[in-house]
Amino acid sequence: MHLKICHLYPDLMDLYGDRGNIISLVQRCRWRGIEVEVGQISLDRQADFRNWDILFLGGGSDREQGLLYEDLCRRRDNLLSAVEDGLPVLGICGGLQLLGKYYQTAAGDRIPGVDILDLWTVAGSKRLIGNVCIQADFLPDAPESGTDKTLVGFENHSGQTFLGKVEPLGRVVKGFGNNGMDGLEGVHYKNVFGTYLHGPLLPKNPYFTDLLLSLALERRWGKSELKVLDDNLELAAHTYMVNRLKQQ
């Protein structure tokens, strides 16, 4: 068995240790003897997303997001058909915003997104910064992990995202979430997961990482069982932050 992970725009969208998410996916495959290949797709490089197993899109600064916008729009139809086919996608921060309908700047201009998810983002006047904990009910039951279906990470965004007819990734336990108002965080549509949580996200939320891998294996190879790994360090990092946030 092998998996192909597509890191989209790694040169433009790699703020906040985003490569940690790729490292996490890769290592958890290798430790289980699953072959894994990471393709870096950037501007003007051809790619058919239907042939990939996981798509990762990280965050970038405003300038860098501006540089890739036209390129991403050219890929829209292909991306949409891969998404409808069940491609697991993880979009973080800018990656979340770009998948939506538009981004409205402080001046009121609307920069259209690729419009794959029913969400939109409005520039806010203050940055939403800090550690976050969310309750994410889509995560598998894992009572022995002690994580209680939580995800932890760090957010840092000025855009405020609002959801239309689409599910959030989870509900905010501590932190701001999509906009600091409606208590929702991220987005979940089919196998697309969008979130503002970096930190990076996957290393200290190993159950979420494994869910992405299971979905990818299921779609490509029709089987999704994963060998159990020793996650003591990962869960220690996870529960430290959950407990610290609970005490605030």
């Binding site: 040169d11 490292i23 290592q27 910064i129 990962e234 220690a236 990092a237």
Partner: protein
């Protein structure tokens, strides 16, 4: 000056100086509080105090190396006989700089210094520069640092550039030619002095290792790099608009890294032998030398000061810890950490490490930068790593995913316990390193000094 203004000036001055005096009597350094209180009372205080010096002011800013660069430059200037107002303690926000002026001024408001040398945080530039109006501005480099405090790097660079264009249209700029983010600030300007490093034996060619500034600031095209010294520092050209690394006016040639002894290079034919470790030390010394040369200071003062300078607290500082030699060095961002790793793996001996990651405001609350550090190159060389500080678990996870066996990782959150474990595990055949973030540095250093004096006593 009107009477009321004069009164407010003296009230602020005396209040500030009194707080400074009491802080020192209480055993505190008083590096920010006196300035903070005095500025509340009289916001123009900094401009007044900075206005009267015969040789004006020099400002050093940038992401990495500004503390070391300004310490080196202070050494050179003092060697040349100048008396300075200097925020030596690294308190580089407007309150710290005002406190430095309060400390240097007499109770009658007169300041005997000839020149102010000020290390200024990038984010504080817009507050400090309009009051201080430096005639010379040194920029070390721009890297990603503590993002949650500044927003994104592009914004930091834009902020510094706007401040320079608005308040310092005629100042002399001393810029790092090898950093495209710093060098672009000098485009279309007169009175710029560029410093840079000639090709060395340690350069990297081929794959881009730059994590910043991959794209031209003027046209957005990706840069072509002939070589990288480290990070995005190197020799580059933009194939889109032709912007390229400026020819350095002050050039470091024949760079030699000499392990724990230090680093040497040639500066216009004069051999400079630094007692600092790591390639980046060349840039710190070079920036200081360029600023001094720009002020007309002779090379003999520069050589003497640079050669004689002992690294200050927590910047590659050496300790004897039990039988092993331990180097203490502050780590605060990926580029700086990678350079420390490069210096570490250069040695022959196996490594024993204690790394302390805190996430207080001064460290940066976001620790995702740990994933941009190339711990992968360290995985084979380290016998063990003791992970400490408030985010010890996150560090341990990072090291595990960098390929270190979990048996070699120890999570000991308490700094004192972590240090005593380090002492127990190190032997004479190993090199020890203690690498704390900012708020872990001072308690760690105190503990190490206490252990050292105890060892002398017994």
């Amino acid at each position: 000056m009107k009477l009321a203004t004069t009164l407010r000036f003296y009230c602020a001055l005396w209040l500030g100086k009194s707080i400074l005096l009491f802080s020192r009597l209480a055993g505190k350094p008083g590096t920010t509080l006196p300035g903070a209180v005095a500025l509340k009372l009289y916001p123009e205080l900094l401009a007044r105090l900075a206005g009267g010096l015969p040789h004006g002011a020099i400002v050093v800013t940038g992401t990495n190396g500004k503390t070391t660069t300004s310490n080196l430059l202070a050494e050179v200037l003092q060697h040349a006989g100048m008396m300075l107002t200097f925020n030596r303690a690294g308190a580089n926000l407007v309150t710290g700089i005002t406190s430095a002026f309060l400390a240097a001024s007499r109770w009658d408001g007169r300041n005997p210094s000839q020149l102010a040398l000020l290390e200024v945080d990038e984010a504080a530039m817009a507050k400090v520069v309009p009051s201080v109006k430096p005639h010379t501005l040194v920029i070390t480099n721009f890297f990603r640092d503590q993002l949650d405090r500044y927003g994104e790097l592009d914004k930091t660079v834009a902020l510094v550039k706007d401040t320079i264009n608005t308040y310092l249209p005629h100042a002399k700029l001393i810029l790092n030619a090898d950093d495209p983010l710093a060098a672009q600030i000098g485009a279309n300007r007169e009175g710029v002095l560029y410093y840079g490093v000639a090709p060395t034996d340690y350069d990297i060619t081929g794959n881009s290792q730059a994590r910043e500034a991959k794209f031209c600031s003027f046209c957005g095209h990706a840069y072509d790099y002939e070589l990288y010294h480290y990070g995005q520092l190197g020799i580059y050209t933009c194939p889109g608009c032709g912007f390229q690394r400026p020819v350095p006016d002050v050039l470091a040639d024949k760079v030699q890294i000499r392990g724990t002894v230090g680093v040497s290079f040639s500066l216009g034919g004069t051999a400079i032998n630094l007692q600092h470790q790591g390639f980046y030390s060349v840039y710190n010394a070079l920036a200081a030398a360029a600023a001094a040369l720009g002020m007309g200071i002779g090379i003999e003062h520069i050589k003497a000061a640079l050669d004689g300078f002992i690294p200050q607290a927590g910047r590659m500082e050496q300790f004897l810890f039990g039988a092993a030699r331990v180097t203490l060095s502050l780590v605060k961002n990926p580029t700086g950490f990678n350079e420390v790793i490069r210096a570490m793996v250069h040695g022959e001996k196996p490594l024993g490490l204690m790394i302390a990651i805190n996430d207080n405001a001064a460290d940066g609350r976001d620790i995702s930068w740990l994933w941009d550090v190339d711990f992968e190159t360290l995985a084979d060389k380290a016998e063990f790593v003791i992970c400490s500080g408030s985010r010890a678990e996150d560090l341990a996870v990072r090291l595990k995913y960098a390929g270190m066996e979990t048996e070699k990782l120890y999570v000991v959150k308490d700094l004192a316990q972590a240090l005593s474990q380090l002492g127990a595990k190190l032997d004479a055949g190993m090199s020890g390193y203690v690498l704390p973030t900012y708020t872990a540095l001072f308690p760690t250093r105190q503990l190490m000094n206490a252990a050292r004096s105890k060892a002398y006593a017994s």
